[in-house]
C-alpha cells in the first residue's frame, strides 16, 4: 500500500511559488529521503504535508485518504513531525510529562500515565526525566523527547526534518540507531528531509534530489552508495557529502 503520495504539488508562500509539480510515492514501511541544499524546497514539501504551509495546489494523499488544507485530527493520528532543533521545538516551561501527555489530551485518549511511560521506554529515556524541564536535558535527550512526542498517537508515517543536524556525531549515531529500530519495531514509514547524504545512506531506501523547487532525480539508495546517480547536480552533491577520512 502507498503510505504517502504527492501529485503535482505546488506550494506557495504569498506570491512566490516554492515548489514545482512535486510528484512522488512512498510505500508503506519505506524510508524515503528528500535531499538538497537550503532553498531547494525540501522542507517546504514536508511543511505542506504536515499542514504548516496551507497554500498549495495538487494532491497530498496519506494511506489512501486525500489531505485537506485545514487542521485535520484524523490526519494527525496518521502522521507526525519531528523537527530539526530540539532546543527550539520543546516548550521551555512544560515538563516532559506535559509535552508527552498533550497529544493524548487533545485526542481524548485516557490512561495517559501508562502511555507516557511506555513512550519514554521506547525512545530509551529513563523515567527519572519525566518531570524535568527541557533545559535540564542534553540535546540528544531532547531529541528523544521530540521523537517520543511524535510517537504518542501511534502514527504510521513520520516526517523527519533534519532530525540529527543539530547534534554531535556520537549523539547523532544514537538517534539514527533509535530511528532505525523504531521503524523496524513499529512498522513506520519515514519521510526524511536532510542535506546529509551519509545519513540517507544509513537510514533510507530511496531518495529524491531536489533543486530550486523541483525533483531532479529519484534513485535507490544503492545508487547513492555505488556513486551511480545519473543527474550531474546530484552526483556533485554526493561528492561533496562524502566523508574524507579513510579508516
Amino acid at each position: 500500500m502507498t503510505a504517502l503520495s504527492l501529485a503535482d504539488l505546488d506550494v506557495f508562500y504569498g506570491e512566490t511559488q516554492i515548489t514545482h509539480a512535486i510528484t512522488l510515492a512512498v510505500a508503506e514501511g519505506e524510508s524515503f529521503a528528500l535531499v538538497g541544499e537550503s532553498g531547494s524546497g525540501k522542507t517546504t514539501v514536508l511543511r505542506a504535508i504536515a499542514g504548516m504551509a496551507p497554500d498549495w495546489r495538487g494532491a497530498i494523499t496519506v494511506f489512501g485518504k486525500p489531505r485537506g488544507h485545514g487542521i485535520d485530527r484524523d490526519f494527525a493520528r496518521q502522521c507526525q513531525v519531528v523537527f530539526q532543533d530540539p532546543y527550539g521545538s520543546l516548550h521551555p516551561r512544560k515538563t516532559i510529562d506535559a509535552v508527552l501527555s498533550e497529544p493524548l489530551a487533545i485526542h481524548g485518549i485516557a490512561d495517559n500515565g501508562r502511555c507516557v511511560a511506555e513512550a519514554m521506554d521506547a525512545v530509551g529515556l529513563d523515567q527519572r526525566f519525566r518531570f524535568r524541564f527541557p533545559h535540564q536535558l542534553s540535546g540528544g535527550q531532547r531529541q528523544r523527547v521530540a521523537i517520543a512526542r511524535a510517537l504518542m498517537l501511534e502514527p504510521k508515517l513520520l516526517l523527519l526534518d533534519e532530525p540529527t543536524s543539530a547534534l554531535d556525531v556520537s549523539v547523532q549515531a544514537e538517534i539514527l540507531n533509535l530511528l532505525k529500530r523504531l521503524r523496524r519495531e513499529h512498522g513506520l514509514t519515514y519521510l526524511l528531509v536532510t542535506h546529509n547524504l551519509p545519513v540517507v545512506s544509513f537510514l533510507c531506501d530511496r531518495l529524491a534530489v531536489m533543486r530550486q523547487g523541483r525533483i531532479l532525480e529519484i534513485a535507490d539508495v544503492g545508487q547513492l552508495q555505488r556513486d551511480a546517480l545519473t543527474d550531474p547536480y546530484a552526483r556533485e552533491l554526493a561528492r561533496l557529502g562524502a566523508p574524507a577520512i579513510a579508516i
Binding site: E37, S38, G139, D168, V169, S170, V171, Q172, A173, E174, L176, N177, K180, H195, N196, L197, P198, V199, S201, F202, L224, Q225, R226, E236, L237, A238, L240, G241, A242, P243, A244, I245, A246, I247
Partner: protein, 273 residues
C-alpha cells in the same frame, strides 16, 4: 622559524559552579606555526573556550591561567585590556559561527568592514572605500560596491559569512581563529567559504586555528589536528593520519559517522560515563 606564532603551555580555564570550580579546559599545551591547526571535539569539550582564551575573551567569573600563553613573543597574560584591544582584530582575529548574530544589524556591510580597519590605523576615506571593495572581491562577492551598501539582513547566510571573513581579514592578521565558521552553512556554500579562507591563508601566510565538531571537514582541511574531550587533548596527529588514530575516543568518534557507502545495520556509539 625560531619563535612559534603561538606558544601555549598549561592553559586552564576555570568557571565556578555550585559544586566547586569546573575546569572546562585543563592543562592544554600546543605550539602553532604558520600552519592550519584543527581543534575537534563534541559540545562541551572546551574547544571554543580554548579559542576564546587566546584572545582573552573569557569574561569573569571565568578564569584563565597558564604557564605560558605567548603570541609572536608577546606574553598575552601580561597584556592590559587596552593592549589586548590593539592585538584583537589587528593581529589575531576570530570568525564566529553564525553571521546572523555576529554582524551589527544597523550598520551597512561596507561600514562594518571599514570599521575593522579604522579601529587600528588612520586611513583616507577614498583609500578605505577601495580597500573594502578589494576585500569583498577577495571573498568572491560580485558587485562589491552594491553589497557594501546593504544591511546584514539583506544578504544570505553564505554571503553574511563571507562578509564576516572579509571583516576579519581586512586588517591582515597573523593568526585567524575560525570557530565553526561553516556549520551554519550549506555543503556547497561551505566548500566555497573554506576555499576562500584557505586561499587567503596560503597567500598571506597567516596561522589558522580551525575549530569544528566535524571530523571529516577538519581532516580534509587542516595540516594538524588536536582532538579534545572534557577540556583535555586526547590526541594530536597529522590530519592525513586521523584515520589511523589510536586513541579509543577518537576511534569511537570516527566510527560513529555514517558513510556514504554505509552498509552497517547499526552505528557504534560511545559509552557515556
Amino acid at each position: 622559524m625560531t619563535v612559534p606564532l603561538l606558544d601555549i603551555d598549561g592553559l586552564t580555564v576555570t568557571f565556578p559552579s555550585p559544586r566547586g570550580p569546573v575546569e572546562v579546559v585543563r592543562n592544554l599545551s600546543f605550539t602553532l606555526g604558520r600552519e592550519r591547526l584543527g581543534i575537534v571535539g563534541e559540545s562541551g569539550s572546551g574547544k571554543s573556550m580554548t579559542g576564546r582564551s587566546i584572545l582573552k575573551l573569557i569574561r569573569p567569573p571565568g578564569r584563565v591561567t597558564a604557564k605560558k600563553l605567548a603570541f609572536d613573543g608577546i606574553d598575552l597574560l601580561a597584556q592590559s585590556e587596552k593592549q589586548m584591544r590593539a592585538i584583537r582584530g589587528a593581529r589575531i582575529s576570530m570568525v564566529m559561527q553564525d553571521p546572523k548574530f555576529s554582524l551589527n544589524p544597523v550598520m551597512t556591510i561596507g561600514e562594518q568592514i571599514g570599521e575593522a580597519l579604522v579601529m587600528h590605523q588612520r586611513i583616507a576615506r577614498g583609500e578605505l572605500k577601495r580597500r573594502v571593495a578589494t576585500m569583498l572581491e577577495a571573498v568572491r562577492i560580485e558587485d562589491p560596491e552594491r553589497v557594501a551598501k546593504l544591511y546584514p539582513h539583506e544578504v544570505s547566510g553564505g554571503m553574511g559569512q563571507r562578509v564576516m571573513i572579509a571583516m576579519m581579514l581586512i586588517p591582515e592578521p597573523d593568526l585567524l581563529i575560525a570557530d565553526e565558521p561553516t556549520s551554519a552553512l550549506d555543503v556547497s556554500v561551505q566548500a566555497q567559504v573554506l576555499e576562500i579562507i584557505d586561499d587567503l591563508v596560503k597567500r598571506t601566510g597567516m596561522g589558522l586555528i580551525f575549530i569544528s565538531h566535524d571530523l571529516n571537514l577538519v581532516a580534509s582541511y587542516c595540516d594538524r589536528i588536536l582532538v579534545m574531550r572534557r577540556g583535555e587533548v586526547v590526541e594530536t596527529c597529522r590530519a592525513a593520519e586521523l584515520g589511523k588514530a589510536l586513541d579509543p575516543y577518537t576511534r569511537g568518534l570516527l566510527a560513529a559517522i555514517p558513510r556514504i557507502d554505509e552498509t552497517r545495520a547499526e552505528l557504534p556509539v560511545l559509552e557515556r560515563t
